[in-house]
């Protein structure tokens, strides 16, 4: 199937700056974010339960996405469904699969899978002890269910060999599962009914033209012949936002029952996922030759840098970030009508007593780091060593989410202030 067939079903909501594929919200994240988000859930729950929760979240979100696409494209047969699924996998930068399975069982072999490849790229010298591709396992299960018109959640897939564990390839086994209760929908409708998208902030006259230019690029960002999106020195992916939110909040809920004293630690690590992901993604894009060609080489001017960060975040579908306040080197207030985290929380988890946008909190700090601590005049190289140097003197920023729609506030807002260096990340 021509990828353009699916690209034509990508959408964008300008007021909320969310991306969609067939009305299912999606977002572009880099491998740094993906690895750290998944790792945090596994650290909290253990590898087996963590993988199970993440696989379940992926299965649900990809089932909805592919079912929506199949309905729009009027795809009905088993073979056509498999073809559609492989195109979706490629489009999202997740790699390639060969599926030899039905609802009664079988084997799936993966190549160039995003998470396994990301691990080998980023942590080459760290031995991995558990499979990395729970997202792909969930994707495969959803594909088998749809292709064979089986009941939702009636197929389970788990990874039994993984290229991130020094294996030559990634292998999954499919087996029947008992369907569980279904969660409510998470589509464009939930977004528009949850949050009012009309927010403007500082530097909009700078942000708007950059966003328009970047949208032309991101709307056509698709996997290559291997099913990988390698761009800006990063391995990018487009995943349903429900995957991240469901895996994260299911993990937090489980931890609140088994080890509630560790909840602040998990919050801090989910925040770090946002921090490492946004720092690398936004930084690598701004340091790229593509950016030079499309926007112009960064000058290092703080206002220009923060406007660029906000424009990129919107283009990638992270939400309609706005700059409410900005004092270079000292303070940043980022405000958005809603994050995808908060949208999910309101619709699935109910009313919170505290703000719930952990990756957004970390992202706000990352923006401040890019503005205040990177010397753009000298063409920075966004790699592990640069990132590690951010912490040589401890953490120099304090972030607080002061408003969150999950708590009933009118928008989601994070305030970042400079502080004396501290070893505390809580």
């Amino acid at each position: 199937m021509d990828k353009r067939t699916i690209v034509n079903h990508r959408g964008f909501m300008p007021d909320h700056s969310f991306n969609f594929v067939a009305d299912i919200p999606t977002v572009f994240h880099c491998h740094h974010f993906n690895l750290f988000w998944d790792q945090t859930i596994d650290d909290a729950l253990g590898a087996e339960l963590g993988a199970a929760i993440r696989t379940h979240a992926a299965r649900e979100s990809y089932y909805d996405l592919m079912a929506g696409l199949a309905a729009r494209l009027r795809i009905d047969g088993t073979d056509d469904m498999f073809t559609l699924a492989m195109s979706v996998l490629h489009l999202g930068g997740l790699g390639s699969l060969a599926i030899d399975a039905d609802p009664n069982g079988g084997e799936i072999v993966g190549e160039h899978l995003h998470h396994a490849t990301a691990w080998n790229t980023k942590y080459a010298r760290v031995g991995r002890r558990h499979p990395a591709d729970a997202v792909t396992a969930g994707f495969a299960a959803a594909t088998i269910e749809l292709a064979h018109r089986a009941a939702r959640d009636s197929v389970r897939c788990r990874e039994v060999e993984c290229a991130a564990m020094n294996g030559p390839r990634c292998v999954f086994v499919a087996e029947p599962a008992e369907p569980g209760p279904l969660a409510g929908p998470m589509t464009r409708s939930q977004i528009t009914s949850t949050a009012d998208g009309r927010l403007r902030g500082l530097f909009e006259s700078d942000i708007t033209p950059i966003l328009a230019t970047l949208r032309q690029m991101t709307s056509n960002l698709v996997g290559d012949e291997r099913g990988r999106i390698d761009a800006f020195g990063l391995s990018m992916s487009e995943l349903p936002t429900t995957y991240y939110s469901r895996a994260g909040y299911d993990g937090l809920r489980h931890l609140s029952r088994t080890a509630p004293q560790s909840i602040p630690v998990m919050h801090a690590l989910l925040r770090e996922a946002g921090h490492v992901g946004i720092f690398h993604t936004l930084g690598a894009i701004m340091a790229s030759s593509e950016w030079d060609a499309l926007v112009g080489r960064p000058s290092g001017d703080p206002e220009e840098t923060v406007a660029s960060c906000v424009a990129i975040a919107r283009a990638l579908g992270m939400g309609h970030w706005t700059v409410a306040e900005f004092e270079p080197g000292q303070r940043l207030v980022l405000r958005t009508p809603a994050t995808y985290e908060a949208i999910y929380y309101v619709n699935r988890e109910g009313r919170a007593t505290e703000p719930q946008c952990f990756s957004y909190q970390g992202a706000a700090v990352a923006v401040m780091q890019l503005v205040a601590r990177v010397d753009w005049r000298t063409r920075p190289h966004f790699e592990q060593r640069l990132y590690a140097r951010l912490f040589e003197d401890g953490s120099t920023w304090k972030c607080t989410e002061t408003q969150c729609i999950a708590r009933g506030d009118p928008y989601c807002e994070v305030v970042v202030n400079r502080r004396n260096p501290s070893s505390s990340f809580i």
Binding site: G127, A259, A268, V374, R379, P380, R385, L390
Partner: protein, 244 residues
């Protein structure tokens, strides 16, 4: 922090072409000689990588740390040595230098580095956001400066005659020593080898359920807590052998 007189050090070794000092385990540049070395940051990184890999190999094979790594090439020998837990050095000698002579000259230079063996932290790094007159701390190399790490048509290129030897030393870190509890040693191992060391204690706390405050005093942990930490450290760094 003691100031390093690398010029004086280099004069002790007439055959020395380049010297790079780097922090461990991250391979961050601390000092280099001569000043005209093009991409000293990258050089420190790759030499630090060499020491890290050799450290892993000798710990697996011998349960000890390397004392010295020697790489012989047609361009001359490269010797890499750990100076302390947190500092390493790479010495590049000219093509006329044999390994024996290089080791002698290194021994003389190491006397200059002796005080650093007792220091726990390397010299302070250049600020991430350095002023225009300072060295670019996060820059790619300036294209007008010669790059030592890239092939140069005027220099002999490496051939298959390169050999790598590492020599083991008495164990310093991998086994409990008098005064160092197993908990202390495990946390030390974690912080030396974990990916993303700035949050490795958070990960350890999340995995074990042990509060961060308790991890600040590892010598006071219970045996059960230490066992839980050992399991978590093995998983985080991906190794069974912790030497503890």
């Amino acid at each position: 922090m003691r100031t390093l007189d690398v010029v004086r050090m280099a004069k002790m070794a007439p055959a020395l072409q380049n010297l790079v000092l780097f922090s461990m385990p991250d391979g961050r540049l601390v000092e280099h000689w001569p000043p005209s070395v093009g991409d000293a940051d990258s050089l420190a990184t790759v030499v630090g990588d060499l020491l890290n890999v050799a450290d892993r190999a000798t710990r697996w094979g011998f349960q000890t740390s390397p004392k010295m790594i020697a790489v012989e090439s047609e361009a001359g020998p490269l010797i890499v040595c750990p100076i302390s837990e947190d500092l390493g050095a790479g010495f590049f000698f000219n093509a006329t230098t044999n390994l024996g002579l290089a080791r002698i000259q290194i021994r003389d230079m190491m006397l200059q580095l002796e005080p650093l063996r007792n220091e726990s932290k390397p010299p302070a790094a250049v600020p991430l956001n350095s002023p225009p007159s300072g060295p670019p701390s996060v820059a790619r190399p300036d294209s007008t400066r010669p790059l030592l790490s890239r092939p140069d048509s005027t220099r002999p290129t490496a051939t298959r005659s390169e050999s790598i030897r590492s020599e083991s030393s008495r164990p310093e870190l991998s086994r409990p020593t008098a005064g160092r509890s197993r908990g202390v040693m495990l946390l030390d191992t974690l912080q030396r080898h974990a990916p993303d060391p700035h949050i490795c204690l958070l990960r350890l706390s999340l995995r074990t359920g042990i509060a961060l405050e308790k991890l600040d005093s590892p010598e006071q942990l219970t045996p059960e807590q230490v066992d839980a930490i050992a399991t978590a450290v093995r998983d985080i760094i991906g190794r069974d052998d912790l030497g503890a």
